[in-house]
Amino acid sequence: MSAARKLTMAQAIAEAIGQEMEREPKVFVMGEDIGKYGGIFSATAGLLDRFGPERIMDTPISETAFIGAATGAAAEGFRPIVELMFVDFFGVCMDQIYNHLAKNTYMSGGNVRLPVVLMTAIGGGYGDAAQHSQCLYGLFAHVPGLKVVIPSNAYDAKGLIIQAIRDDNPVMYFFHKGIMGLPWMAYFEGSTTEVPQEPYTIPFGQARVVREGTDVTIVAVSQMVHKALLAATELAKENIRAEVIDLRTLVPLDTDAVVRSVAKTGRLLVADEDYVNFGLTGEIAALVAERLDTLTLKAPVRRLGVPGVPIPYSRPLEYSVIPQVQHISEACRGMLHSKLARAA
């Protein structure tokens, strides 16, 4: 392996896209402000100068048209990367995504291939309110036909997006604004990591045990992984050993990693920045519940997520609805003292 240097997650993504564009002429990028601006969250910084406007294409504010165009171009053999500026904007173009991009392969009996990467910014915690702070990967994981990839750090970000670009299927790639390492938004420094110079891939469906533990399993993705790690460090001082699992991809999902960990700890906390109802936390809890013939739990499953409210603007309100480090620690402590109902 060649010498590694530290990159922010944004730099890792831009580097990866650039390397794939050099290798494969069919890769091109469409999106709003991805050209001269380099992407609002710097995911395409420097690429316009290297590849020109024919391959780094600024679009009008016409998501239905250009995301639908990505589907059409992919069907013709190109490998488009398209950026949806904020995941919250999916509303204006969701038909093209979930009814076409997601379903054409299936409806054609596998005859149509759509190698599209749809990358988008997620996450809140910086006062951007209800229409610019959501995560929503649960929603995209719910509808069949889209792979769902969510890196928590620069190393994973590069490997996962290269994997995504080389995948012949539609991949939704979600990068959290609060871990991109931008010079204008506070971020968790653990997201900036050493990143190998050469291209590499990380397979989908492989979670990572970021921290080993024996007392409680914390499952998370994206920025929440970093909060979970901070909570685990805090809990270790109280002799509570938390195991932190970074799922990395929701579709495909590494169920075995979760099961293996819960078999060891007997306690499951799913910490999520997406809405808690009908989403990721429920899915992981259900997967464990389905395996209680072989898994033993020492405590009821706990779920942390945004509690069925739009993200409020005011700082104290926003802070209270998005799971924080202290909420994770409190939940874990509670689980150590939980009791289960007696079996019938």
Binding site: G35, D58, T59, D88, G127, A129, M185, V309, S314, P316
Partner: protein, 335 residues
């Protein structure tokens, strides 16, 4: 259509108020966001300070707001954009509660839940949204409601030239034309959709031409001038009130500050803003008032002082106001 002396004076004072408000916000927004108070290594922290998050200011775009709102009554509806302050001020939204909302305080318009892009004032029929193009359909709805209720009220949708390429624009124009709704669509062409200029986003020169495609009247206002906006808007609003249906107006205006505060504007040619400021619409209107004997030096000084005091007052009010209790975050999902 010529503005009366009262209307001229109102437009001038309101533009001054808007400009003072926006330029004050540009400074206040930066509080707490710069080193050394922030995470080490960062140049700026968007989450910090009394006004967190994004901030989109309308300095330079005042004529669009006042030229249109000069014709509007309290019962007429305005739906605005992510850059809403000038519309809200011109529509008569209470400045203190609006500022409290932008500061995230419990006595803000939305109890702190909406913030700067999501200002709601049902009493003054004002709302806005952070989603590009989202203003047009609800304006059609307000117009539809007025028509159903047999009132001569109108609705105005403001949006940018970038939004004219979004599906909701096209659907709304057709629907309004088909149902002959009393709605006026006002496009603020400030040339930029964040970093992408109109030439690189829009296949035709003028969005006013798009009106023909929907069978409605279209007017291009090519100068960032309150009186020209007033004339075009007056005609359109009169048409709507008389049952003559929708109009599309595009106003060429100037965005003096960045797309958002903190925007380095690398995509903008050097010196462009300085050049645009030479045609500042506020002194231009002031000169028109002077030439009509409606404004003198002493009067102007007094107006400006009154406005500075008022703006200082509302910002102080917002700072002094309390934050909401965290448990309030769970309230108001449903009425």
């Amino acid at each position: 259509m010529e503005p009366s002396a009262e209307q001229l004076t109102w437009m001038y004072e309101t533009m001054l108020l808007i400009r003072e408000y926006e330029e004050t916000m540009a400074k206040v927004y930066l509080e707490g966001k710069l080193p050394p108070q922030i995470q080490k290594g960062l140049a700026f922290d968007i989450a910090s300070g009394p006004v967190p998050g994004e901030m989109h200011l309308a300095a330079g775009q005042e004529p669009v707001a006042v030229g249109v709102c000069a014709h509007l009554r309290k019962e007429d509806t305005v739906v605005g954009t992510h850059r809403p302050h000038h519309f809200a001020i011109a529509k008569g939204v209470p400045l203190d509660r609006m500022t409290a909302e932008i500061f995230g305080k419990a006595n803000g318009l939305g109890r702190g839940k909406g913030g700067h892009m999501h200002l709601f004032d049902p009493e003054h029929k004002f709302s806005c949204s952070g989603i590009v193009g989202a203003s047009l359909p609800p304006a059609c709805g307000a117009a539809l409601a007025a028509k159903k209720a047999g009132k001569d009220w109108v609705a105005v949708a403001f949006f940018g030239e970038g939004a004219a390429n979004q599906g909701s624009f096209h659907e709304s124009l057709n629907l309004a034309a088909l149902w002959k709704l009393p709605v006026v669509f006002v496009c603020e062409d400030n040339k930029y959709a964040i970093s992408v200029d109109k030439e690189h986003s829009t296949a035709i020169r003028s969005n006013a031409e798009r009106a023909a495609a929907y069978g409605i009247a279209g007017r291009a206002v090519t100068k960032n001038d309150a009186i020209e906006v007033f004339a075009a808007a007056g005609e359109a609003i009169a048409r709507a009130r008389k049952g003559g249906g929708p109009t599309l107006i595009e106003v060429k205006t100037d965005r003096y500050l960045g797309h958002f505060q903190g925007d380095a504007e690398v995509y903008r040619p050097k010196g462009e803003v300085e050049q645009l400021r030479k045609d500042d619409p506020i002194p231009a209107l002031g000169a028109r008032l002077r030439s009509r004997g409606l404004l003198g030096d002493a009067q102007d000084t007094a107006i400006r002082e009154k406005i500075r005091t008022r703006v200082r007052e509302v910002y102080d009010f917002a700072r002094r106001s309390p934050y909401p209790e965290p448990r309030e975050a769970l309230e108001h999902v449903f009425a």
